[in-house]
């Protein structure tokens, strides 16, 4: 664990541990499964042991409350020794036969990577063999996601890049724009699509699991839930006018946008997570430029109401102390919102370790840099040790922070992924003016509730 603190308000409370205690991150293949779930007609195979697929299914199902079918190539001991080519072939064939997918995503696990599986070569060979049961395989996109490299956030980014890298085709330049989503919620994705529509900007959003992971009940069981980014749109990403992507901590190299820029010369526009007014303004500004239109009136109005709400609630928030944790980009995005509200993000932590989170926070909130503890490669036990001395008023992060919130007796505002102890994880909004409005309301009301609960008088009029 490394904790980068310019001026630490309190000395480290406990020695650093070699072991990770209550991890504040998930493994790389989970990010791959989430990204593949946002492609139309896609099914995913994890190349490795059965457990990886099952654990990730359980984790995603518990958050999204939707079916998440992830197949496994199901390594046995002999596959581990002699290679998993036959397992992969059987897995691909069976997935194709059962689901009839339009694309299959194959993500590796640590086991496959450690024994040196060359999935690219396997796929090349399998394609040249006569198809099983006379049915040829759909396109297969593979991504290398060993869980000992990076976190689920890196797995997500690598998968979006792999999709583009393996599917994008050259062609005449089009008028459309690529929008590469970060680990947004289905509600965020729906809202983004709405914004793009209202700017009348032809756009491809990848991945888009707004329907596949947040859909209605069914008349009949759907082999693959409807929705997702059409394959054809992914193929046309190389012909786009520009790419927008939302990350300020991840290396420029592994992203889909930077690859398209290098390979097809598609100009790339990088933004952070559009959380809070300034970051949302930046997004709307880019959309204005790309569409040549002013921000549609309803979004201007929404921004107006948001700032009005900030004004109404500012005294409840000023100088309050928050501990923020989650994916690095999400944490940085939240710092942007909190500084607009006068909330001090006294501890910003992530299990990720890009090495860029501190710089990104400093760039965003230079005036707070000296008082923010920024912990990368953090786990929840370390967070507890540090947070205890910081007297936080609230925690902001996913539901695995509940344990910490309970011990610190501090309320938790649940955002991001996973939300395993509340309903509606898929419906949480984070981005844009509307997302900021929802976050503002929830943060403010959480603090008001705490004031009320702690009060001996207990006024119903605050």
């Amino acid at each position: 664990m490394t904790c980068d603190t310019t001026v630490s308000p309190t000395p480290p409370a406990a020695p650093s541990f070699v072991a990770t205690r209550n991890a504040c991150k998930l493994c790389t293949p989970l990010g791959a499964c989430l990204a593949f779930a946002g492609v139309e007609g896609a099914r995913t195979i994890l190349h490795g042991s059965q457990g990886c697929a099952t654990y990730i299914r359980r984790y995603m199902i518990s958050h999204f409350k939707e079916p998440v079918d992830i197949a496994s190539s199901n390594f046995s001991e002999s596959a581990t020794i002699f290679g998993g080519r036959d397992n992969l072939r059987a897995g691909l064939t069976n997935v194709a036969r059962q689901y009839g997918p339009s694309v299959i995503g194959v993500a590796t696990t640590c086991l496959a990577e450690t024994i040196g599986e060359d999935v690219g070569m396997y796929l090349h060979e399998i394609r040249r063999e006569p198809p099983a049961a006379g049915k040829s395989l759909p396109p297969v996109v593979h991504v290398s996601t060993p869980s000992y490299c990076g976190t689920h956030a890196e797995g997500f980014i690598a998968t979006v890049r792999a999709l583009v890298e393996q599917l994008a085709e050259p062609g005449p330049p089009g008028a459309h724009v690529n929008v590469f989503a970060s680990m947004f919620s289905p509600a965020d994705l729906r809202y983004l699509k709405e914004i793009l529509r209202e700017f009348q900007l032809p756009a491809m959003l990848l991945p888009d699991y707004s329907d596949t992971l947040d859909g209605p009940t069914w008349d009949e069981y759907q082999l693959i839930p409807r929705g997702g980014t059409p394959l054809e749109s992914v193929r046309r990403t190389g012909q786009a006018r520009a790419s927008i992507e939302f990350t300020c901590v991840h290396d420029t190299k592994p992203s889909a946008g930077s690859w398209l820029c290098e390979r097809f010369g598609v100009p790339q526009q990088r933004l952070g997570m559009p959380i809070g007014v300034a970051a949302s303004d930046a997004l709307f500004g880019v959309l204005e430029t790309l569409s040549g239109r002013a921000t549609p009136a309803q979004h201007v109005a929404e921004r107006g109401r948001l700032i009005d709400a900030f004004v109404d609630g500012h005294k409840y928030l000023f100088d309050r102390r928050a501990v923020v944790f989650g994916e690095e980009d999400l944490v940085v995005g939240l710092v942007g919102l909190l500084r607009e509200l006068g909330v001090r993000p006294v501890l910003c932590a992530s299990g990720g370790e890009s090495g860029r989170m501190r710089a990104a926070i400093e760039a965003l909130a230079p005036e707070l840099a000296s008082e923010i503890q920024v912990c990368q490669a953090a786990d929840f036990a370390e967070l507890e040790d540090r947070a205890a001395g910081l007297r936080p008023d609230l925690l902001i992060g996913h539901s695995k922070g509940y344990w910490l919130a309970r011990r610190l007796k501090v309320p938790l505002v649940r955002i991001g992924f996973p939300i395993h102890d509340r309903v509606g994880g898929a419906r949480l909004l984070h981005v844009g003016y509307r997302g900021a409005q929802q976050l503002f309301d929830r943060i403010t009301n959480t603090l008001l509730e705490a004031i009320q609960d702690e009060s001996e008088v207990g006024y119903a009029y605050l």
């Binding site: 036969r97 450690t114 009940t217």
Partner: protein, 541 residues
């Protein structure tokens, strides 16, 4: 249109005319979305509830992250088991080996948390990069003076069942290392209950009320020191036989401790567990106390069961569990509630399990081994199911199709074992099957018969009491039941008990079902005893 994979057909028994030959205990088919996890998962779930041990997962972060605090296993004391510890191996560890990191992690964690023992789980890549887990564990054990037990649970080395065995092997290293002072002849260990929502406490309380000393609970609310002296007990009672029979067998071989297979779910199985233990010790006062206990407990829950059963009568359920033993209990419990099991299956059942399940279920009940979401969805649709019982992964299948769901997996936070557990189970089932939300789901609205059945506003045939003699017996009520094996198999009796010979709503289309005597019970069955005991109470009052 959902089609079955050819490779999966042998593991599905759907045609009642076909000879029964169920394939099982096979490696999952690649590309079939098996609900099983891996060897590691098997070990992790079995050992997890040992609350004063350190559980260190040697591998990359995922295996630990996904198993952090997942089971609803409670502890009456320390809660170290709820922490998730991992060596969180990185690329350089994979290249240069993780032994050093493992050693450091173990030492610092033992120093900081002062556990009574440590379990060190091997994950997939540990088996590949060749870390000598045993050597590191031996070294730390010697240096720190506590048991440090390697658990060989590399994910690819078989199925979840192999993980159970690895866990049992680790536990067996502890057994026999503690003092057996103070353990009397009427004593037992509870194996294979994991104290979900305090279930082990409930069961322990039952046995203690019988006058039997409980030495160790393995592993629900488990303690290292109790496990170390578990060899002093006179009997092992084993629930969740798939996970713990291995340990019971090893204890029988080495220490001569006999074991009984039990289940604590449902009236019949719970009562039988108590009577079997009483019978094992051959003590009549134990037998009397068991009868009294069953009588009191059954009497306490009957009014509620009566209420729930009235609504649930004739509803159709699909059951999919981890171990097959739980499926048996669920089929019986559903019958107690007047429900019919139209599909049943498990992740890890063996040939004997499926034979028994087949005997227990109706002719036309579909049986599945190591099924997948598409098969489940297919049968849920085709069989017009009102309720699916399974784990979290199965829940959205039911909900998407507008079907009720009951979680009977280890993640649940509601106790379903024991007599009180049956009441909770009935409430769980009732609250999902009878919910008005299904009336809004398009699929259920589109199927009028189904919708009516769901809304509970139509008389439905009572499937199980098509056999005339059976019906007569039911109607004559409890004390006069001539055939005990019949009673054990007859949920209708509870109805008659509950409703006091209420009018039977028999219809012509109710299938005549042959009631098979259950060979394993020659004497009075627990339910008949339970019912008899209750009748005495009612007569007395």
């Amino acid at each position: 249109m959902i089609s079955l994979l050819e490779e999966r057909r042998a593991q599905i028994h759907g045609d009642s005319r076909a000879p029964f030959a169920m394939a099982c205990e096979k490696q999952s088919v690649a590309g079939s979305v098996s609900p099983r996890a891996c060897v590691f998962c098997g070990s992790r779930v079995v050992l997890y509830p040992v609350a004063d041990a350190l559980h260190l997962i040697h591998g990359p972060v995922g295996c630990a992250a996904y198993t952090w605090d997942i089971r609803g296993s409670l502890s009456s004391g320390p809660e170290l088991h709820r922490m998730s510890f991992t060596t969180d191996l990185r690329e350089k560890d994979v290249v240069y080996g993780g032994e050093r990191k493992l050693y450091q992690a173990l030492c610092e964690l033992i120093d900081h948390y002062q556990p009574k023992a440590a379990f060190v789980y091997a994950t997939c890549i540990v088996g590949v990069i060749g870390d000598d887990l045993d050597a590191v564990c031996r070294r730390v054990a010697a240096e720190k003076g506590l048991p440090v037990l390697p658990v060989h649970s590399e994910g690819f080395k078989g199925t979840k069942k192999d993980g159970y065995q690895a866990a049992c092997a680790a536990l067996f290293q502890l057994v026999g290392t503690g003092s057996t002072a103070g353990i009397g002849p009427l004593s037992l260990n509870i194996l294979g209950d994991f104290n979900i929502a305090g279930e082990t406490w409930l069961i322990r309380n039952y046995y203690e009320r019988l006058g039997v000393q409980v030495v160790a609970t393995i592993t629900g609310d488990g303690r290292v020191d109790d496990i170390r002296r578990a060899h002093g007990a006179a009997l092992n009672v084993v629930q969740c036989s798939g996970s713990m029979t291995h340990l019971a067998k090893m204890m029988k071989d080495k220490y001569g401790i006999p074991f009984l297979r039990v289940s604590y779910f449902g009236l019949e199985d719970m009562s039988r567990a108590l009577y079997d233990v009483a019978g094992h010790f051959g003590d009549t006062s134990l037998q009397t106390r068991a009868e009294a206990l069953v009588r009191d407990e059954v009497a306490a829950i009957l009014p509620d069961l009566r209420r729930y059963r009235k609504d649930l009568q004739g509803k159709r359920a699909a059951v999919y569990t981890g171990g097959a033993f739980k499926a048996f209990s669920l089929v019986r419990s559903l019958r107690t509630l007047g429900m019919k099991t139209v599909m049943a299956g498990s992740q890890t059942g063996n040939a004997d399990d499926y034979r028994l399940l087949r005997e227990l279920c109706d002719e036309d009940t579909i049986l599945v081994d190591d099924t997948n979401p598409l098969e489940l969805a297919k049968f849920v649709q085709e069989k017009g199911v009102d309720l699916l019982i399974g784990g979290v992964k199965e829940r959205p299948i039911a909900y998407k199709l507008g079907v009720g769901f009951c979680d009977h997996n280890h993640e649940r936070k509601i106790g379903l074992a024991g007599f009180e557990g049956l009441r909770q189970f009935a409430r769980e089932v009732h609250s999902t099957v009878m919910s008005p939300v299904w009336k809004l789901v398009p699929r259920r609205r589109a199927a009028p018969a189904d919708a009516a059945s769901c809304a509970g506003d139509r008389a439905v045939p009572v499937g199980r009491i098509g056999n005339p003699s059976h019906t007569q017996d039911c109607a004559r009520f409890v004390g006069r039941i001539a055939n005990p094996s019949h009673v054990a198999d007859c949920g209708g009796c509870v109805q008659s008990l509950c409703e006091g010979h209420a009018e039977r709503r028999l219809t012509a289309e109710a299938p005549a079902v042959e009631i098979r005597p259950q060979a394993e019970h020659a004497g009075p069955t627990p339910l008949s005893l339970a019912l008899r005991a209750t009748e005495n109470t009612e007569a007395a009052s």
